[in-house]
């Protein structure tokens, strides 16, 4: 138990540091993530560029810092959106029951059966072309959030269904509690552990989905960095050989995903 607590503390500390690294990107590097030092492509680390440069001569440290900001701020936002949608629909289905429940679950199954990547590609292609890179990245994560709700749906629905026939809820109804009071004081506190768990689990999943999209060249647009498009630099093995620091986005991604898993409280601890 002590080991677990220690692991969680260390993981949380690492996550805080990585979040701060992203948030304070503008303050900790003098370089813009977009400036190309064309005389120094794939340069090794030096006092001027502490992690070296990428294939176009852009400072890797600056790109990593700004990329961390993009990936780590928007992934929780997408996780929040998907948990919110999944939570609302799941609890509605679980509590109301009947044809409404069947319709919502069918919609969830349908959504789960859709190949997410292709749906994202199609929706991405429908976006206007003249939006800025910042807006496009927000749109990408919003799409991830809007399409990722089905994973939370079934879990929340199962928890809500158990609540529907619970004694305390029937007692609350019998004593004349209003619907709003029932939701606020009885349902939401009981669903909180499930929703929190879903939220925390979704964050690393969205970070990885964005990385996959960017690896395909369909995520965050140039010149804005994200962990995903920084990972694309690893396609060039020769550059990795000359500068092992170009692996830093991969190390950071793995570290953050592991830390999220370790820092995640057990479900019963949310209650």
């Amino acid at each position: 138990m002590k080991t677990r607590a220690l692991g969680r503390a260390i993981s949380t500390a690492i996550l805080v540091v990585v979040f701060c690294f992203g948030l304070l990107a503008g303050g900790i590097t003098n370089y813009s993530y977009a400036t190309q030092f064309r005389e120094l492509p794939n340069a090794a680390p030096s006092s001027a560029h502490i992690l070296g440069t990428d294939g176009l001569g852009r400072d890797l440290f600056a790109r990593l810092a700004y990329g961390t900001r993009v990936s780590l701020l928007l992934a929780p936002a997408a996780a929040f959106l998907s948990t919110l949608i999944g939570g609302i629909l799941g609890s509605f289905a679980g509590l109301v029951g009947g044809w409404c429940e069947r319709a919502i679950l069918a919609a969830g199954d349908l959504s789960m059966a859709l190949p997410l990547l292709f749906v994202l590609l199609a929706l991405r292609a429908l976006l206007p072309l003249d939006i800025s890179p910042a807006l496009s990245v927000v749109a990408t994560f919003a799409l991830l959030g809007l399409l990722g709700w089905h994973s939370s749906l079934r879990v929340v629905w199962a928890a809500s269904r158990n609540l529907r026939n619970s004694d305390f809820l029937q007692l609350a109804r019998a004593t004349g509690c209003t619907r709003w009071k029932i939701i606020r004081y009885h349902i939401l506190p009981n669903l909180r552990p499930v929703l929190m768990a879903q939220f925390w689990i979704s964050i690393p999943a969205f970070v990885l989905t964005e990385a996959t999209l960017s690896m395909l060249g369909l995520g965050v647009m140039e010149p804005l960095p994200s962990w995903g498009n920084l990972l694309r630099g690893l396609e060039d093995f020769s550059a990795v050989g000359s500068n092992q620091w170009s692996l830093s986005p991969l190390i950071l991604l793995v570290l953050v995903v592991i830390c999220f898993q370790l820092a995640l409280p057990a479900q019963e601890e949310f209650a």
Binding site: R38, G55, A125, L129, D130, E222, R232, F237, S238
Partner: protein, 544 residues
């Protein structure tokens, strides 16, 4: 006086000396980058099938990939009528297909009838069927074939380089071939095995039957990194095409194995959407239709940096539609304007653009900002786009980059026309400009900047239409060249396409292979497969 045993030893030494005579036999091993869709040479439409057609097909006229001159193949000679409608072939006598069926003019007639039949849907036949009307094919003798087309066909004799002759009588149909090899085995998804054609007609200068190799094994391998790993292990002896990163890596490890054939025909370019029916705002349409705007953009792009950084120096700046490696058709008189930001700004100022506070605005005060689309997954193009983005920022232009999956990109380019500018590559494997007719004619569907025009939108497009049509029917190659030079001149002046680079053709050849001389035309590494041979004792050894 030399003693007899010494003389025998000397003769033996000469025979065994490396580089003395070509060694017959052995199996050459390399990769196809996709599944061949067909073994029927008339239906070839993909690179893998094209490579197999090249290795197995016998053609009447062969384009020498090194000299870019036409050479006799199955035809010993040919004559073309003055109006370029009729071609008469005199064929080699006493030739046989790989299965032993004799070769006569009937086979040429059979092949041409199939090729020209619209029901065959032959991509190779499309070039011959450019005009309306039916072709007449006559065989006055077993060694003479006369083909008369309904209208003049530009570059007629060159087209026969792609026409592999089929047997009219062989029970093996298209599997009976006249080329150096025949398909002996095929395992889908795994390999294609070719064996030496025992009836191949060619011999070397010493009278030895060609090809030297006994067989060729073509492994089907889409992943180019795995291909390179296998080459380095010695499991493959050729790589027909390498990208700049792979080439640089191989060059660092084994410089002797990485070979550059020089600047290729392949160009990367971008263009602005000038279609009047596009849903773009009017002010953007006005920018894109202004010649000075396009020329200024071209001047602001640092092509040397793109070649050096994106292609690691294995590319050359491009300024026109024809690569310098296309020896006959390249117009060497074209201007090659160097990167010059100040000149670009002056040019823009002349047509009413203002550069203020590091921002470029048009006469009406609109900020110059547009989006460049390209296909996703192409790292080189994405890097090029990022470099263009920084170059254009120097003249106050804000460039957004959007990568789209290919179907979405094609949809925008051809149907909705909802894009500002597009960056793509032009695959041009044919030397003759006639193959680009649909690109240059204003009515063409591949006239990307403003496709399918009913009448030419601008005087210079009308002039290009006129020159392209005239070159197609000009009686001599010299006259055709003069007309296409003019087209290149207009394109250079108007910049409907802003050409960026011509990539080098990069290949890998194992030290166990002798006689491979890479060229820029397809197939670059094995175009002379007949005379390629393996050095004795070093087959399939790991590369040093």
């Amino acid at each position: 006086m030399t003693s007899r045993p010494f003389r025998i030893l000397a003769v033996l030494f000469l025979f065994l000396a490396p580089g003395g005579r070509a060694q017959s036999g052995g199996e050459l091993h390399f990769c196809l980058h996709g599944e061949p869709k067909t073994f029927n040479p008339l239906l070839v439409d993909d690179e893998a099938s094209e490579n197999i057609r090249y290795l197995t097909g016998g053609v009447l006229i062969r384009l020498n990939r090194q000299t870019q001159a036409l050479e006799p193949g199955l035809a010993t000679s040919w004559t073309i009528s003055h109006e370029r409608r009729t071609i008469t072939f005199r064929l080699r006598k006493g030739l046989f297909f790989s299965d032993g069926t004799p070769f006569t003019s009937e086979d040429v007639a059979y092949t041409m009838r199939l090729l020209l039949d619209p029901q065959t849907h032959s991509p190779t036949g499309d070039a011959f069927r450019a005009s309306e009307g039916k072709a007449q094919i006559e065989t006055p003798a077993k060694d003479v074939a006369v083909i008369t087309f309904a209208a003049p066909v530009a570059g007629l004799e060159r087209l026969f380089d792609q026409v592999a002759i089929l047997s009219a009588h062989s029970p093996k149909k298209e599997m009976a071939v006249l080329g150096p090899f025949y398909v002996s085995d095929y395992k889908p998804g795994s390999y294609v095995q070719l064996r030496k054609n025992p009836n191949y007609w060619k011999h070397d200068a010493q009278g030895r039957a060609l090809p030297y190799l006994d067989s060729v094994q073509l492994d089907i391998q889409r992943n180019r990194d795995i291909e390179l790993v296998r080459f380095r292990r010695g499991e493959l002896q050729l790589i027909n095409r390498l990208d700049a990163d792979q080439f640089e890596r191989l060059q660092r490890e084994s410089p002797a194995l990485a070979k550059s054939a020089g600047t290729g025909l392949y160009a990367e370019e971008f263009w602005f959407n000038q279609a009047p029916s596009s849903p773009l705002p009017e002010y953007k349409k006005t920018w894109f239709r202004t010649t000075e705007f396009r020329k200024a953009i071209s001047l602001a792009i640092n092509r040397d940096d793109i070649c050096r950084i994106v292609y690691r120096g294995f590319a050359k700046p491009a300024y026109g539609p024809v690569s310098p490696s296309n020896k006959f058709w390249f117009n060497s008189a074209l201007e090659e304007p160097k990167h010059d930001t100040q000149r670009a700004l002056r040019m823009l100022a002349r047509v009413g653009f203002r550069y203020e506070k590091e921002t470029l605005k048009d006469r009406a005060g609109n900020r110059v900002e547009f989006t460049l689309v390209t296909n996703s997954g192409n790292t080189a193009r994405e890097k090029m786009a990022a470099m263009i983005q920084q170059d254009l920022a120097q003249i106050g232009i804000k460039l957004n980059i959007v990568t789209l999956d290919f179907p979405s990109l094609i949809e925008r380019m051809t149907r909705t026309l909802d894009y500002d500018a597009c960056l793509l590559g032009l695959v041009n494997t044919d030397l003759d400009p006639n193959s680009q007719m649909t690109v240059w004619l204003s009515s063409g569907e591949n006239h990307q900047w403003n496709p399918n025009q009913k009448t030419p939108a601008t005087p210079w497009e009308a002039e290009i239409d006129k020159q392209m049509r005239e070159q197609a029917s000009a009686p001599t190659e010299k006259q055709r060249k003069a007309k296409f030079d003019r087209v290149q001149q207009i394109v250079s002046e108007q910049q409907p396409f802003i050409y960026l680079i011509n990539k080098d053709v990069l290949v890998a050849v194992s030290s166990s292979v002798s006689g491979a001389v890479p060229v820029v035309l397809n197939p670059p590494a094995f175009w002379n497969v007949e005379t390629i041979h393996l050095k004795a004792g070093v087959e399939l050894e790991a590369q040093k």
